[in-house]
Amino acid sequence: MGSFPWLTVILLLPAAGAVVLQLIPGRRTDAIKGWTVAVVVAEAVLVGMVVFNVATTPAQGGCPGGPYARCAAIGLLPLPMHLQEQAPWITAIGASYHLGVDGVSAWILALNAGVFLVAALVVPRLTTERLKLFCGLMLLTETATTGVLVSLDLLLFYLFWEGMLIPLYFLLAFYGNENRGRATLKFVIYTVAGSLLMLLAIIYLHFQALNQGVNTFDLETLLQTPLAQQSAVPLPFSSVPTLTPQMWAFLAFAVAFAIKLPMVPFHTWLPDLYESAPAPVLVFFAGVVSKLGAYGFIRFGITLFSHPAHQLQPLLVALAVLGILYGAVMVLSQTDIKRMVAYASVSHMSFIALGIFSLDQNGINGALIQIVNHGIIIVGLFLIADWVEARTGTRDIREMAGMERRTPWLYAMFLVITLAALGLPGTLGFVGELTTMLGAFQYFWLLAVLAGVGVVLASWYMLRLHQGLMHEAPTPRTEKVRDLRLREGLVLAPLAALLIFLGVYPHPIGAVTSQSVPAVVRLADAGQVTAHDVPLSHTSGAQR
């Protein structure tokens, strides 16, 4: 694809679209929505080309094999990247405009373009107040999420990561149901608190590199500048020797990502927010924004901090398994369908976290597949929940039953998504969960067993949700519901089709992710090799 700055184009296209959008008069709602859809379609096409490029061409750089130090000696970059762009940005502090895409980010980028496309399609044109503002903010969010996925400079990454909150804040604060104020505030404060800690860690990494004579925020350069081994430092304002500075820095990153993901115990903002947000916002929020936490762990967390990641691995996987089980149990105790989906999301996201923290090639591959899988599923589930609420006027599952007779199309689509969510073979969910569990098994067999319990619980709550809505005799609220409109069906059908197609033929995902995952795992393993501390648990490292 030559030297054309493709990534800059996909980064700026939505923002430029948002600017042009402001020229359309506010009462031309059809033109506003049409333009928005046109922009996200164009973006999706371009992203498709980028992903195709990643899948079909060899990457630049990357360590082909063997110990990393040897690669660095001959000048190879640690991560194989495509379509790299690099330009000076703030030279005084060494920040650069460095973009790139690889097997880790490519499919999440595609997911990103896809969920924004769905979100743009489901914006209710006639009932959305200040439609132009809504669409503009949505496009700005897309630029920010794209920026998070393609930035290879830590400061640039942080800028998009935190800047994303500005359009999101306005979207959540202005649109949504009456509880949105509180929920939005809770979410923003949670996220900002985590992100600020990460900023501190980023600055710390910068000065660590600067002490070694490298003035940079660049991920690849930082990966080649190994952190000096340091002894434990006292906690501020106490003399108790605690963790090493690297450990603190990793914890700061981990908290920021764990809040976004969210991992138990940082999940409490999620149910309230998912309950109060409007459907189009939910589509891209649940679909991709929360996935960025997982992406951050893979891209930055376990590569930059391989040593602390290995030391804390038992704690991290324990939290992930706890999240799987806790989320599942919470779904079973809910009666509000949106909250059920929200807690199911907690459980599924913890599955992704488990895959990542197995620090194993299978596990991370599985996590990436699960990211795509869950992105599609959650979009479908929230759309269905929203449409059911619009049709019946309630979100209480006890007041609904027997919709199957009047809504055969909804029934069918919902069924496919339900089955994918519970990981039935033949759907993408099965591929993702199986690969993740393989990774977890490599680390410690009990984890795979507990994750399996989570899958069983998932079958229980997903079928309970599906049957509760669809089977048995109709209630007064569901007597007169109508089936999916053609427009709604056309949005859901591709999602369902994709879940089945990729479930049967997951090669397109695997081929792309397997380009980069070995490099990530190699970087993560570097910490294990140099780890001279006693692992916190006997299982850590014993498997290799």
């Binding site: 940005w89 703030i90 030279t91 005084a92 502090i93 200040r130 942080y158 800028l159 998009f160 935190e162 800047g163 909150l165 500005i166 804040y169 306005f170 604060a173 202005f174 104020g181 939005t184 505030l185 923003v188 404060i189 900002v192 608190a193 600020l196 800690l197 900023l199 501190l200 600055i203 710390y204 910068h206 000065f207 600067l210 501020p236 304002f237």
Partner: protein, 505 residues
Amino acid sequence: MSMIAGLPLATATPGGGDLVGLLPEVIVAVGFVALMLMDLVVPPSRRSWLAGATAAVLAGAFAMSVWGWFDAGPAGRTVYFGAVAYDRLSAFVNCVVLVSSLVTVMISPGYLNRRGLHHGEYYALLLAATVGMMLLDAATSLMVIFLAIELLSISLYILSGFARDEERSQEAAIKYLLLGSFASAFMLFGMALVYGETGHTQLAQIALAMSHPGPLDPLLVGGVILMFVGFAFKVSAAPFHFWTPDVYQGAPVAVTTFMSVATKVAAFAVLIRVFDDAFASYYAHWSSVVIAVAIISMVVGNLAALTQTSVKRMLAYSGIAQAGYILIGVAVGVAVPLGVQGALYYLAAYAVTNIGAFAVVTVMSGHGEDLDSYDHLRGLWFRRPYVAAALGFFLLSLGGFPVTAGFFGKFLVFAAAIAAHNVALAIWGIGTSAVSIFYYLRVALLMFQRREEGEEQPYAWPRTSLLGGGAVAATAAGTLILGTAVPLLLTVVQLAQAGTLPGAT
């Protein structure tokens, strides 16, 4: 930091070169006198002419300051026997102060007319205070520092009591006068001790005297600390902040707009010049005090702001907290140059953001009482979407979100603290920033709250005038530019820092 060495006292009479160094100040001072005279001949119905004349004076001084930036060169020099600096630091801070004054003049006529306070002396006093601030950021002699502070303070004492019929405004003026005089006394005492121990009033020579190795001089340390107390009062750092909320709330909001920004900017400029350069060799003795005040300001400012229900008081406490963040840069400025650069960046960012936030309050204040209670903002979004969006943007910038000016200000001072191996200070900053998001966003959320059916509009928001809207739009654009065109401003502050103490070669 520049090298400190002796400088022989000039004995010749001041010449044209000295005058050039003071040209922006002279323009504003002449404008001040001219406006007092113009007020006598301009008919009351044409008072907005005075605003136009004031704006012209400020624009002229701004142009001269920009020219001076290039003319003074990287090292800068002192004029009038080493009393005043003609360098890039003063040119930079002059520009920030002048822009703040200009924005204040833009929003004033409409506001003063609504409040029935449109008197000619308002503009003259504004210019007098501006001269004081410009002199303050250029001062390199203890005497000039004190005179400049008094000049700006006296003008502001009068301006804060400008609503003559309002008890609160009168109370604000008295409170400001009493506590301000108290702080001036502290500073003067400190200056006297410094002079007594070093034998000089000029900063370059004080620096030279202080850098001589010798036994620690406790009186000199006392003088340095007392001077810091005086400055801390002017920048409203805790625990010297008690006047701030009352004065900000009581004064007419157009005055608060000006006072909350320009005073702080000028006082921080001189604080940087005096402490990070002249007193650099006593760094070990004053740094812990400055760090303590920084932490107290961040904690007290942010925690107190949480419980406010008045917009002006919230912004006052937020200003106290912001002073704490800037003090981080000052506190580590001797050890790492990034500290001073960060503080200067933060000052510019704070100026444009905070003046924007107060400008919105001014523009939205109608007849009768100022817009003040949180409740007055409820539902603003549905009536004045652009103004509400701008205020939301300013609040996000104050909270330090990226792509706004506030982010890079915070980023640079925290980076400076970490570079100076004071991670704890950065953690205090990070923690309190996280707290601050709560109250900034709480106010912003109120604007998006819908009114109940049949409920009356909480406040009669005036229509936005062209000038007022322009001021808000310009500050919003500035907030965005300082948050995105970072390399530009970073270069500017690096160059500005180069000549922190001219005359010392």
